[in-house]
Structures are given as structure tokens and as C-alpha cells.
Amino acid sequence: MTQDQINLAIANPKMSARDVNVFYGEKQAIKRVSIDVDMDNVTAFIGPSGCGKSTFLRTLNRMNDTVASARVEGEITLDGEDIYASSMDVVQLRARVGMVFQKPNPFPKSIYENIAYGPRIHGLAASKADMDVVVEKSLRRAGLWEEVKDRLHDSGTALSGGQQQRLCIGRAIAVEPEVILMDEPCSALDPIATAKIEELIHELRGRYAIVIVTHNMQQAARVSQRTAFFHLGELVEYGVTSDIFTNPRQERTKDYITGRYG
């Protein structure tokens, strides 16, 4: 099977992966994955548990560096720059490629401090007044400002699950990232909180390149414009979301999205 049968040509990729292999010890979790992600579209990674979609997502900001047994081969670039190059500052990389996790994980600090922490360590605000602006702007973009503006100094952990997740998105936004990776951001949330996050993803589209891993195919269909289907560590098919969900080219994709996976 040739690459262009399963892959999507993207003119100006924000991030590109070429022939990426990931190993956990002896076990190969990702097999020769090549994919481009662009700025203007939300990209969804779907696939059954253990297919490698989260593992692959984590290679995009070197989260796998924290796993001792993990080894990444191949090339991954951000604006053409190799993110695994020895010259790459990983802390800087993770500011440029932010991440939102499955379970909301606000710091046990105030709402304000949750947002201010990143900009402070990255030196993005010179004064208290600057920081106030950054906090408000980030919370507005995260769709949380109106709900928390009168209690910025309450603990972030006191918020509801959906609010906590939007706080985490605000925290990622605060350091002015270029790419936001979301690893099943709604799996711990109820449908209303989920809808709010999905609406937020829609609003953030274009400002950041967004890649979302989701177990929920309907969610992939709702929020993304590009969908990549992973199975057994391979990228089976990558295409325009509406094509993937109405007329997938690969039998394996079809069986998975129609619930015939076996």
C-alpha cells in the first residue's frame, strides 16, 4: 500500500513526522508513521485502545522522553525544525507544543496562579499588570473568564471537572503555544462540559494547530477537519474527516468506524 493511498497531502505542515518508530523496550508501539499536521485544521487521531494514537501524540512534544524505556526513531519537525535535535530545548518545545490531558490536572493553586505559572517561568509578563492581562486573555480564550472572574483566587481544584479542563486549556494557551495536543480531553467530562470543550476547540481552530486524540468517534467527527486512523501502531488512513466518516478507503477504517471492529 503506497503512502498516498492512505495519506493526505498537506501544503504547509506545522508539524511533520517521517517514518517514525516508537519502541517501549523490545515492543514496537509505532510503526513507520508519516503524517503532516497543519495550522488551519483540527486533526483527530482515532483508533482502538492500544493502537498507538496516544503514544504517537506524545512524540510530538517529546512527552515520551519521560518514559525510560521509550525510544523514538525517525524525524519529527516543527516548522521544519527537528524537535529531537540535540539543540532543541525541551522546555521551550513544550511551551510551543502544549498539551491537555485526559484527566483535568490543575495545580493545587489559585485559578490565577494556574494560568500565571507558565508565563512567569517563560518570562512572558514583565509586571503584575501585564500578568493580569495574560490571565484574563487566556481565561477568555479558554471560555472560562465569565465563570471565574470574580473568584480568581479560589483554588483551581475547586472548579467543576469541565471548568478544570478549560482551566488546563487556558494554562496551555497562556504560554502562547503554536500547537495544542489534547489527549482524550473530554473522557472524564459529562456531555454538557464536553460540548463546551468542543465549542472551545472550534473557536481555537486556526489560532493554534490542534491535534486531539479521542476514543469517541462522534467527537472526532464533530471537532476535526482531518482524521487519522491508527491500528496496531500503524497509520491506516489519514484524510478529510467527512470522507473518513462517509467513505473510508481502507477496509480496516471502515470496520472500525462502523462498529464492526472485531
Binding site: M217, A221, T246, N247, T253, K254, I257, T258, R260, G262
Partner: protein, 232 residues
Amino acid sequence: MAEHTIKAFDDEIDRLRGLIAEMGGRAEAAIENAMLALQRQDLALAAEVVQGDKRIDAIEAEVEKLVIEVIALRAPMANDLRDVIAALKIVSVIERIGDYAKNIAKRVPLIATNRQLLEPMSLLPSMGQVAAEMVHDVLNAYAARDPDLAQAVVERDAVVDDFYNSVFRTLVTFMVENPKTISECAHLLFVAKHIERIGDHATNVAEMVYYAATGQTMPERERGGTDVQAEI
């Protein structure tokens, strides 16, 4: 095709397909019986066709309800989605085919036995047969998800169109020569037009079957005939 992990979904799809098969079979029989009633002046058979259309309409309503349920509860994707959308569209077309057959049957009592009329009527049974066969084959194509068979049905529509043009010309000539039969001939003209429309509808179903099976729209066919009457 592999089964769904959720078996009830397969049961619903099977039920949907079963209903469409029944509905199509009834529409096909309605065409044949309406034409038979016309040929034999069999008013009882004609009345039966009119009566039978109620069941066709009822199946349409049942399929619509089931499709809405499946979409709401199963969120079908890819070929499943194309299948249920096609089902929804196909039943509305078959319902129209049933209506045309009913309409032909309703004209039977208005076309009195008249030895004279045998001549212009001679082409109608064959024309009706081709249209009924198109309906029959397109249902087989649907059941087998067979795009080639669907395409073959589309190609046969030209035969029905040609028949229509012949019948049209024959009837017009006949009316000029036999002005007393104009009223009956006008009904026969409608009968021919209804059969011609049945052919068009079978073609539409074939296109939906093709799309559901392949995910592609059927390639545009060559329009060989230049006779404008078929287009009217």
C-alpha cells in the same frame, strides 16, 4: 460483510432491507397487475392494485421511522450511513412507483373495452414489462449491493424512453384518425407517461444503490436519444 459488535444494529439493518425488499416486490407486482388489468379489462384486479398501494405507503412510513431511529440511536457511519440514507430515499421513490401503478389501475375502468383501441395499446404491455423488470433488477442490485447490476438498470431506461416515443406517436396518429377515441387515448397517453416515469424512478433507485455500494456517484451515462418527447 462483517457483523457489528452490537448485534441489535445488524438486526435493524436486516429489518430495513427486508422491508425495502417487500415494498419493492409489491411495487413490481402492482405494475404488472395494473398492466394486466388494463389488457384484460379486469376491473377487480385493477381495484386490487389500488387497494394494495396502501400497504406500500405503510411500509414507506415504517422505513422512515426505522431510519430515524437507527440514525438517532446507532449513529451509523460510512457504508452503514450511506445504506440508511439510501434506504430513506429509495422508499420515497418506490412509493412514487406504487402511485404510478395505482394511477394506471384507476384508469382501467375509464378505458372501455373497445376493439379499436387494441392497435395503439399493443406496445404498452411490453413497455410495462421492461419497466417492471427494471424495478425487479434494481431491487436485486440493492439486495446484493451490486453496482454493476445497478448500472445495467440505468442503461435500460433508454428502452422505456424509446417505447414511450413510439406509443406517443402511435396514439397521436390514432387520435387524428379516430377522434371518437380521444378521451380513451388521452388516458392511454397518461398510462404510457406513467410507465416512462417508473423507468426514471427505477433509474434513480439504481443511482442510490450505486452510491450506497461504492461511495461514488454513478458516472453520467451517454444520452443517446435525441427525441425530445422522452424528456417531457
